[in-house]
Every structure is written in C-alpha cells, then in structure tokens.
C-alpha cells in the first residue's frame, strides 16, 4: 500500500489516520499538503482525514474541496484510484463533487462525540471486504454536521445501486431512529461513488484498531484495503 494522507489547515485527525495506516498495512503513508498539485508517484490510496479544515468556515469542507490537491485527487479517482474520506474528509468529498449529497447540521444541533454502531451493508467492496455483510461494528463519531441528505432521486439511486455501505444501527443491526444519532436520511453513515472507488463515511474507523483502546472493529476496513491493494499490485 502506498497511501497519501491529505493535510489541510485545520485538519486534526491526520496523525491518527497515518498511525492506523502504518499499523495495519506496515507502510508509512505520505503526508500531502493541500497546496501541492500532485500526489506522490505510485500512490494507490488517498485518504482525507477528519478535522475542521479552514475552521469549517463557509460550509464544512467547502474551502478544502477547492484547494489545488483536490484536482489531483479528482483525476486519481477518475482513473479508478481508491479514495477514502472520513468525517471532514466525507464532507470535503461531497463539496468537491466526488460524492453526491451534503452533510447538514445534526438534527439535535449538538456536536456528538461517542461510539456508535454501524451495520456493514456490503462486503464486496475494496473498503468493506474485511467484514461480512450485515455485520455490526462499533466505531466513534465526533461531528456537528453529519446529517446526510440528498435529493430524492439521488437517494433512490444510492439505494438502488447498493451504494450505501454503512448505516447507523442498534448493536444488533436494527435500523431505528433511536440509534441514528445525527438524523441522517435512511440512517446513512457511509456511501460509495458510482464507480465504487470513492468512499465517504462520518465515523472514525481509524480510532478503533488497537487492542489497548478496547475495540478493534475499525481494523477490518484497513485490513481489507491493504489486502485489496496487495492483490492489485
């Protein structure tokens, strides 16, 4: 794996992400500054971490989405390269037009920082091959704007094409408004682009990979990615 972790002013989860990538793949990722216009040669995975790029000014992710490195990411994704956006990274991917829809203020207007349960909807993607379809994983969230929404036609397409890969659920995998902490439509926590090579998700799988933390449910995502990329190489 030759991962590139993008760094924007105001991002604060890039070191968690780099640590997890190193731990799970054995390879140190490159840290790539937003003002760069090219990804390092041989990059096979771009990760946009969480945080508060540009202080969430204007709209979450809006300014980062228009930075020079994002043109390189767009062309990388256009060639089928794998892109993972977590939290602010998901917001940036939506603002950049690489994923449809938008992440609105949480329904209860509060910043929510705690563990949630996710139902993995598919295991046949490079991002989720480390899980079984229907498996429930426990991962943390930390966001004020995670309430996913898109127009009705887009939602119908996402659902019809099986592009919702993670949903907020109860610990036993039931979709229930009580377990949908931010009010996202259809309890959507993570979606794929049309081609299936760009994933955006609000929760932080990178924070649940080490036994010392007590939960390692995020590991499957990175182990799966490592395996997918190892196979492609």
């Amino acid at each position: 794996m030759k991962a590139a972790v993008l760094v924007f002013p105001g991002i604060n989860r890039e070191r968690d992400m780099a640590r997890t990538l190193k731990l799970t793949s054995g390879h140190e990722p490159a840290m790539v500054w937003h003002a760069d216009s090219e990804l390092p040669a041989g990059t096979d995975l771009v990760v946009i971490p969480g945080g508060f790029s540009y202080g969430d000014y204007l709209r979450c992710g809006a300014i980062a989405a228009r930075s020079p490195i994002m043109d390189a990411v767009r062309s990388f994704a256009g060639k089928g390269g794998l892109v993972l956006g977590v939290c602010n990274g998901f917001q940036i991917l939506c603002e950049a037009g690489l994923l449809p829809g938008v992440l609105m203020r949480n329904e209860n207007l509060r910043f929510i920082c705690r563990d949630v349960y996710l139902r993995v909807e598919r295991s046949d993607t490079p991002f989720t091959r480390g899980y079984n379809a229907g498996q429930v994983i426990r991962v943390p969230v930390a966001h004020g704007e995670g309430n996913y929404i898109a127009d009705g036609e887009t939602i119908a397409r996402l659902e019809g094409e099986g592009r919702v890969v993670f949903r907020y659920s109860s610990p036993d995998g039931m979709i229930d408004p009580n377990w949908n902490h931010n009010g996202a439509i259809n309890a959507i926590a993570g979606i794929l682009n049309e081609r299936g090579n760009v994933l955006g998700m609000m929760p932080h799988p990178e924070n649940h990979v080490e036994p010392a933390i007590g939960v390692t449910d995020g590991r499957g995502l990175f182990a799966g990615l490592t395996e997918a990329l190892g196979r492609a190489a």
């Binding site: 709209r59 449809p100 203020r105």
Partner: protein
C-alpha cells in the same frame, strides 16, 4: 462597486438552526412569527464599473464557492 450575494436554503431542506431561532423568538414572546429560515449574506466590493461584468463575476463566485446548489439558492445584487 458594492454588491451583495444572499444565500438561502432551498424549500424543503430541513433547517435546524432556523427552527431553533424560531423557538427562541417564541420563547422571548415575539408574537406572530410563522417560521424562520437562516441564510448567509456576502457583501462584496468589485473592481471596475461594468455592471454586466460584475454580475457575471458574482454569479461565478456563487456557483463555484459561496453556495452549495444541492441545498442552497442564491441571489445576486449589484448595489452600485
């Protein structure tokens, strides 16, 4: 030239901030408020004096950055 771009949420898009403000106005006893939607205002100074050019520039600014047209509408005014 002075100009103003107003960005508002599209009809049907949930606006929790507007709802909270609406509730606060009610609890303050401000009578007769049917609903509140929150938006953004950008006051922009433009170089030059060509009105048509200014409008084109403002439209570009709104489309490319100031509004997310998935959920927002915008209105451009050249104030002169």
């Amino acid at each position: 030239m002075k100009a103003r771009i107003t960005v508002t949420l599209k009809t049907g898009i949930l606006d929790p901030q507007g709802k909270a403000i609406e509730g606060a106005l009610r609890s303050l006893g401000v009578e007769g408020v049917a609903s509140v939607r929150q938006g953004k205002v950008f006051d922009i100074e433009i170089e030059g004096s060509d009105r048509a050019q200014a409008e084109a520039l403002l439209k570009q600014a709104a489309d490319r950055l100031l509004a997310n047209t998935v959920i927002e509408n915008y209105h451009v005014q050249v104030l002169g």
